[in-house]
């Protein structure tokens, strides 16, 4: 899967779950600081991504997923 496809899918989930606008979901955007998520929303989003990409995000990896870029890279690597 191309990285851009993953990015677009992540973007879609974030818009669905957090009600943010498309232009807010950029690579550098932080889930909590910029997109208005809290820890529960983050779990919810990660669960949706796990389902979508059939990957497992380890609990210990949660704190690595601060930005959209982190999430996209993480999934890209797992799929790679």
């Amino acid at each position: 899967m191309e990285r851009i496809e993953i990015f677009n899918a992540v973007k879609q989930v974030v818009i669905e779950r957090l009600g943010v606008s498309e232009d807010q979901v950029v690579e550098e955007a932080e889930f909590v600081k910029d997109l208005g998520a809290d820890s529960l929303y983050l779990v919810d989003i990660v669960m949706e991504l796990e389902e979508k990409f059939k990957v497992r995000v380890e609990d210990s990896d949660f704190e690595k997923l601060k930005t959209i870029k982190n999430a996209v890279d993480y999934i890209f690597q797992k799929l790679g």
């Binding site: 009600g19 529960l40 779990v43 919810d44 669960m47 389902e51």
Partner: protein
């Protein structure tokens, strides 16, 4: 010198039921005798033995809640937040202008966020532990609607929840009334909601033989006090009332819908579901409420009955009214809102209080629909099928609610006079 008790008035109303999302439309429909009960497609599809209910069909949560709130609030909380918003709007109140610690929330919860529970439990059984939403707990716990009202409106006084089944929201209003009267708070958003029209919950109530099975005639299924009544019809929706200390309400020029004048509540300690066979607790609760209001029994003009349409409730409620009021029982007007909107369980006391308050405010009583075949054991004036405007007006009303578990609650509402 004995301190004068503070007076408490209703200054805002928000109500959402199968009869609409506007209090005036709701009351007009009640006066017209319109039924909100119909066949519920998802109950039929599930093969449920009871396929009728009183559903809120065109509710758009986004009209009342933010996008992010909608996804993490159960339908019961969505109803509650919508009603709270409508009630505040109706009261023309700026919560921000008040001391937030002198404002409270007090709601009744019958079942709680059962839709979310069912959805997540199904997911757990099907896909396992890792698929259970992190919002499950905060969608299903029964206190969460109170918490959300506090959070959304920056209310910092107590946000309480009382759970006494079908008496829950009437108990909540009664307890809120006491908190204002005794001086602990100046304003409380109170009431309740329910959203449990699921095949699972309907099956559970049906297996208690509590529900009407008149599937082919939905609008005629809820027939309180009629001899051919065969159970209640489940409904969803909710109602919120703004209760406010009188002087504060007068100072800000609020609309005074009615005064909350007295409250009586107790427990049957008799049976887990059946009411006491002589109506002992119900009698005592009505008596205590009237006494608490400083009134005598002859002052009561109208009773908005619990009137569920179950064979037992309506017989015992009638018996209790006759035993307590004696000859005056035959002069009372009595009606059941449930004849049109079914039984909203934890939301019933609030929604029916709103019907009662609007009756006092407008001087008109809505009918009990479907009262067609007289029952010798239910022989009072139930305002059958047509609304009435009593010549002498309506000054004082009782609102009854009785819950599984033997919970009895009664409130006295009065037309406001300075």
């Amino acid at each position: 010198m004995k301190k004068l008790k503070r007076r408490v008035v209703v200054t805002g109303i928000g109500v959402i039921t199968s009869l609409g999302k506007d209090k005036n439309i709701f009351f007009d429909y009640l006066l017209q005798g319109k039924s909100g009960i119909s066949e519920i497609p998802h109950l039929r599809e599930a093969g449920c033995p009871v396929i009728i209910g009183s559903a809120v069909t065109d509710f758009v949560p986004l009209n009342y809640l933010d996008f992010k709130e909608v996804r993490i609030c159960d339908r019961i909380t969505q109803f509650t937040l919508a009603c709270a918003g409508l009630a505040l709007q109706d009261s023309r109140l700026e919560i921000k202008s008040l001391d937030p610690y002198r404002v409270g929330v007090y709601l009744g919860a019958g079942i709680g966020g059962i839709l979310s529970f069912e959805e997540q439990y199904t997911r757990y059984l099907k896909d396992g532990s890792s698929r259970v939403s992190p919002f499950t707990v905060t969608m299903m716990i029964p206190n969460i609607s109170s918490a959300w009202v506090s959070l959304k409106h920056s209310i910092k006084g107590p946000a309480l929840t009382i759970s006494t089944a079908c008496a829950a929201s009437l108990n909540a209003i009664g307890e809120a009334f006491k908190l204002i009267r005794e001086g602990s708070l100046d304003l409380v958003l109170t009431g309740g909601a329910e959203a449990s029209l699921t095949p699972f919950v309907v099956s559970a109530f049906n297996n208690m033989k509590a529900l009407s099975t008149r599937n082919l005639e939905p609008a005629r299924a809820s027939r309180p006090f009629d001899r051919e009544r065969d159970g209640f019809v489940m409904g969803e929706g909710g109602g919120i009332l703004v209760l406010e200390e009188l002087n504060q309400a007068l100072n800000r020029g609020a609309t005074l819908y009615a005064e909350v004048a007295g409250y009586g509540t107790n427990s049957d300690a008799y049976h887990i579901t059946a009411p006491h066979q002589e109506g002992e607790g119900a009698i005592r609760a009505m008596q205590d409420a009237v006494k608490d209001a400083g009134l005598s029994l002859e002052d009561i003009d109208y009773i908005n009955a619990h009137g569920t349409s179950t064979p037992l409730n309506d017989r015992i409620e009638t018996l209790a009214i006759k035993k307590l009021f004696g000859e005056h029982a035959y002069k009372l007007k009595i009606s059941s809102t449930k004849s049109m909107i079914g039984h909203l369980l934890g939301g019933a006391g609030a929604v029916e209080s709103i019907a009662t308050v609007l009756s006092l405010y407008n001087g008109i009583l809505h009918p009990t629909m479907n009262y067609e075949v007289p029952d010798p054991e239910c022989d009072l004036d139930y305002v059958p099928n047509v609304a009435i405007k009593p010549a002498g007006g309506i000054e004082v009303a009782l609102k009854n609610a009785f819950g599984f578990g033997g919970h009895n609650a009664v409130l006295v509402y009065k037309k406001f006079h300075s």
